[in-house]
C-alpha cells in the first residue's frame, strides 16, 4: 500500500481528520501540525480522528494522539476517536495504551453527534483511562 494522505475537512463546526491505513511517521508528524493549523483557522468545537482504516496502533501512534488531544484541549476543543478496528482495540487494551483525554465513537456520524448534538454529558463519560 502506498503512503496515503491524511485528509482534513471541516464539517459543521468540527474538524474531521481521516487517517490512512498505514501512516508513515512523517505523515503522523505532519498530521499534528495540520490539525493545529486547522484549529487556529476554523476554531471548531473539536476534532474527530477517523481511524477506521488504521489496522495497527502502536505506542508511538497512541502517544501522538495523546499529545495532539492535549494540544486540542488547550486550544479549547474536544477530541473524538472514531471507528477503531476491533483487533486494534484488543491490542491497545492489552498494551495498556493511553490515548489521553479523548472520547470515542463507533463511527464518524456518531462522533459528530457527540460533538455537536444536544445533551452531550453522557458521551463525555467515554473518556480514556489507562490500566
Amino acid at each position: 500500500m502506498t503512503e496515503e494522505e491524511v485528509s482534513i475537512v471541516k464539517v459543521r463546526n468540527v474538524l474531521l481528520v481521516t487517517i490512512p491505513s498505514s501512516p508513515s511517521d512523517r505523515t503522523i508528524d505532519n498530521l499534528q501540525d495540520s490539525i493545529l493549523t486547522g484549529m487556529k483557522n476554523v476554531n471548531p468545537e473539536g476534532v474527530i480522528l477517523d481511524i477506521s482504516l488504521v489496522n495497527i496502533v502502536d505506542s508511538f501512534f497512541a502517544r501522538t494522539i495523546e499529545e495532539t488531544s492535549e494540544m486540542i484541549s488547550l486550544m479549547g476543543g474536544r477530541t473524538v476517536i472514531a471507528g477503531m478496528q476491533p483487533a486494534v482495540a484488543v491490542t491497545a487494551m492489552e498494551l495498556g495504551l493511553n490515548f489521553g483525554n479523548v472520547e470515542t465513537a463507533l463511527n464518524v456520524e456518531k462522533a459528530l453527534d457527540v460533538l455537536s448534538g444536544p445533551g452531550t454529558e453522557e458521551s463525555s463519560d467515554q473518556g480514556e483511562e489507562v490500566r
Binding site: S22, I56, S59, F60, V90, T91, E94, L95, G96
Partner: protein, 149 residues
C-alpha cells in the same frame, strides 16, 4: 539468507535503520502471520509487538536486524496436536539495557511514552527472551503459537 522483495521463503531477516523499515517489517510479519493462519487479532498482536521492538532498535541503537522463522511444534505429549508459530528476533549492537528488571516492569518509560515497550511485547506474545547488558547490545526473541499452547 536475505530475502528479496518477492521471496517466498518462510525464514529470513531484514535490516532496520529507518522509519520506513518499520513499516516494511510490519508488512512482512503481517504477511507471514496470514500465511500460517493466525487470526486477525493474533496477527495484530504480533505485528504491534514487532512495531514496538523495531522502533526500539532505531531509537536506542540506530540500526539493527529483525529475523523471522516459522516454527512447528509436534508436541510429544499430544501427538494429535500440531501447532505452528512464529519466532521473531530483534538484535542490535546498541548500548544494551542497563537494568533488565526495571525495564520489564509495567509502565516503565524513558520519559517519552511507553519507552522500551518490553512488558507490552511480552503480554502480546506467548514467549519472550531477552539477552542484554550494558554495552553488549540487545537480543530479544519473541514467539507466538497458534492452536493450543
Amino acid at each position: 539468507m536475505n530475502p528479496g522483495p518477492d521471496a517466498t521463503t518462510l525464514n529470513g531477516k531484514m535490516e532496520i535503520k529507518s522509519d520506513t523499515d518499520v513499516v516494511d517489517i510490519r508488512s512482512k510479519v503481517r504477511d507471514l502471520c496470514n500465511r500460517i493462519g493466525f487470526s486477525l487479532p493474533e496477527t495484530t498482536r504480533v505485528v504491534t509487538a514487532t512495531s514496538e521492538l523495531a522502533r526500539n532498535i532505531i531509537e536506542f541503537a540506530g540500526t539493527g536486524e529483525v529475523r523471522w522463522k516459522i516454527l512447528e511444534n509436534d508436541s510429544a505429549s499430544a501427538p494429535q496436536e500440531e501447532t505452528v508459530g512464529i519466532e521473531l528476533t530483534f538484535e542490535d549492537d546498541g548500548p544494551g539495557i542497563e537494568d533488565l528488571e526495571w525495564a520489564m516492569q509495567d509502565g516503565t518509560s524513558t520519559g517519552n511514552g511507553l519507552g522500551k515497550g518490553l512488558p507490552g511485547a511480552k503480554k502480546l506474545m506467548d514467549e519472550m527472551e531477552v539477552e542484554s547488558g550494558p554495552g553488549s547490545g540487545t537480543r530479544i526473541t519473541l514467539k507466538k503459537w497458534s492452536v493450543g499452547k
